[in-house]
């Protein structure tokens, strides 16, 4: 996984709450057996509307998504994270994330930055006044920055320490766990014999 330290990019406001993973990518787009090529399914239903924010030219190069609360609820499909990444997004900022989506983001290297509701409202206002403006997301200091002068926004965001460390270092989870293989083997030796198995 690529290391993530800081990122500055065009931020796209998505003024909706409860953006579930079926909205991020509908099930009919989940049939690929690769981790790439999911960008076509991103917000597929909404994209048929030419006025949908993703279709506007000022957001053509957007890499930061600013969404309402409960982003990524619903299905466990990691394809939702891949669709965002395949399209070019590196960061999603929202007041609350679906648990599984947040976990998947951490594993795939998409930064899910949780901020206060008010921060999202301020970012939305800022982006409405300055369409195509950039936002900087710094993982080391856990801050989101936008704008300049007296209107400037500089707020902290939440991410758990462990995920932050893994993203900063670009570490592979499986590699970390396999370094504890002896603990796993010892645990397995202690499992009761009546626990079920699928092959006999």
């Amino acid at each position: 996984m690529e290391k993530f330290r800081t990122h500055t990019g065009v931020a796209m406001p998505l003024r909706r709450s409860n953006v579930d993973t079926d909205q991020i990518i509908p099930a009919v787009y989940l049939k690929r057996v690769t981790r790439t090529g999911f960008e076509d399914g991103l917000f597929a239903a909404w994209r048929s509307d030419p006025d949908f924010v993703l279709n506007r030219p000022e957001y053509a190069d957007a890499t930061v998504l600013v969404a309402g609360p409960d982003f990524g609820t619903g299905s466990s499909r990691e394809h939702a994270v891949w669709a965002l990444q395949n399209y070019g997004f590196r960061v999603v900022i929202a007041p609350r994330f679906g648990d599984i989506f947040r976990g998947n983001s951490g594993k795939s290297g998409l930064l899910a930055a949780q901020v206060d509701d008010k921060v999202v409202l301020r970012l939305w206002d800022h982006l409405a006044e300055h369409p195509g403006a950039t936002v900087t997301v710094d993982l080391e200091s856990r801050t989101v920055k936008a704008g300049e002068g007296p209107e400037a926004i500089e707020e902290s965001f939440d991410i758990d320490d462990y995920t932050r460390w893994r993203l900063l270092e670009g570490l592979d989870d499986i590699g970390i766990t396999l370094s504890h293989a002896e603990d796993i083997t010892a645990f397995e030796a202690s499992r009761p014999r009546w626990k079920p198995v699928t092959t006999h």
Binding site: D22, T34, D70, T73, S75, T177, I184, P196
Partner: protein
Amino acid sequence: MGKTLAEKVWDEHVVRSAEGEPDLLYIDLHLIHEVTSPQAFEGLRLAGRKVRRPDLTLATEDHNVPTLDWDKPIADPVSRTQVETLRRNTEEFGVRLHALGDPEQGIVHIIGPQLGLTQPGMTVVCGDSHTSTHGAFGAIAFGIGTSEVEHVLATQTLPQARPRTMAVTVNGSLPDGVTAKDLVLTLIARAGTGGGQGYIVEYRGPAIEDLSMEARMTLCNMSIEWGAKAGLVAPDQTTFDYLEGRPEAPKGADWDAAVEHWRSLRTDPDAEFDKELVLDAGTMTPFVTWGTNPGQGVPLGAAVPRPEDFEDEQDRVAAQKALEYMGLEAGTPMRDIEVDTVFVGSCTNGRIEDLRAAAAVINGRQVAKGTRLLVVPGSARVRLQAEDEGLDVVFKQAGAEWRGAGCSMCLGMNPDQLAPRERSASTSNRNFEGRQGEGGRTHLVSPLVAAATAVRGTLSSPVDLEEL
């Protein structure tokens, strides 16, 4: 201080615990299917890794498979490739697979319990958010993403931060005609779609103890719909009776040892939950959704709400958007809403008791003109059992379509989809925009409401039907 059930099960599975790191949790059962596993197997191959415990892994084909002509090659080439990829991967890595056509094939959350593989006190994961279903047995069961599927395949463990615990205590008893589905929809409407976030929820109290195992599965299945990490019910005699004699349940002395342990899996009297919700089952009624998330629901006897009645601004905006999408006017009685398609099935309500309940309502009646009733058993075993009991004949005589097993119209990955603006009453778990087909409009309902709705053509419960 004592421990909650969830804490007991969690602690029994901690392989390694270190300050500042998530616990490394051992996984007793890993269920896989065709949609969220191909990239995980590819990851193993690229890293030269093996499946650590194929004997704790089970695969089936459910999400994209057709429910018609399921004995022929899959017509859609992309779906076929995905299913063939699963077959190749399970063969290469030595994982047991129940493929289409096998009598044990079916929705992954139906076949685990049905085989007796899901047992109290286990940890169960699957690349599917409705894995919470298995919590009905007193297991910690949750959905994971594909990177985590790969992690479990390679290590049989998962790093997991310890969640908080919540009790949902349901007192009283459910009135006649009110089911576990109505209970959970009522709960989600009250708690909100994010209300369970960060918690493992234990459902308890007299109304929960009264539920059958299949009803408990319906309840736990929808734990994710209010954001919970997992939902579980303490194992009791109902659980043991359900499990005894199932193909993969312990036998003989192993059974006795297992039951003795399972009886210890109860929340201690002095244990403390981080949060508690209390509900009264006695006041519950058939409950249906009007909007585009499972928390947007009302009693069947109520009307479509007005956006301005919501205090929170985000809720108001969401309600307005939902009404537009659903093509509904505020104030319309729910019972006046006409439905095009009724779907009975899914991991929420595709088990034999669900089909029996729907068939009992439909028996001797006809599906309304202009309405389609699609009945999709949750597994091939459920289909065979229903056919043994003659339920397929009841449905077909009423004018319903009787299909093969799979996820089907719950998520519309196979050809079973709604057309744009088509309206469904569905026993499934999600009424998200486009969930059952682009532009489709979903009302979540119980099997009893689904069957009565099919007969009347408008959202209904069995009490609305004329006596036979």
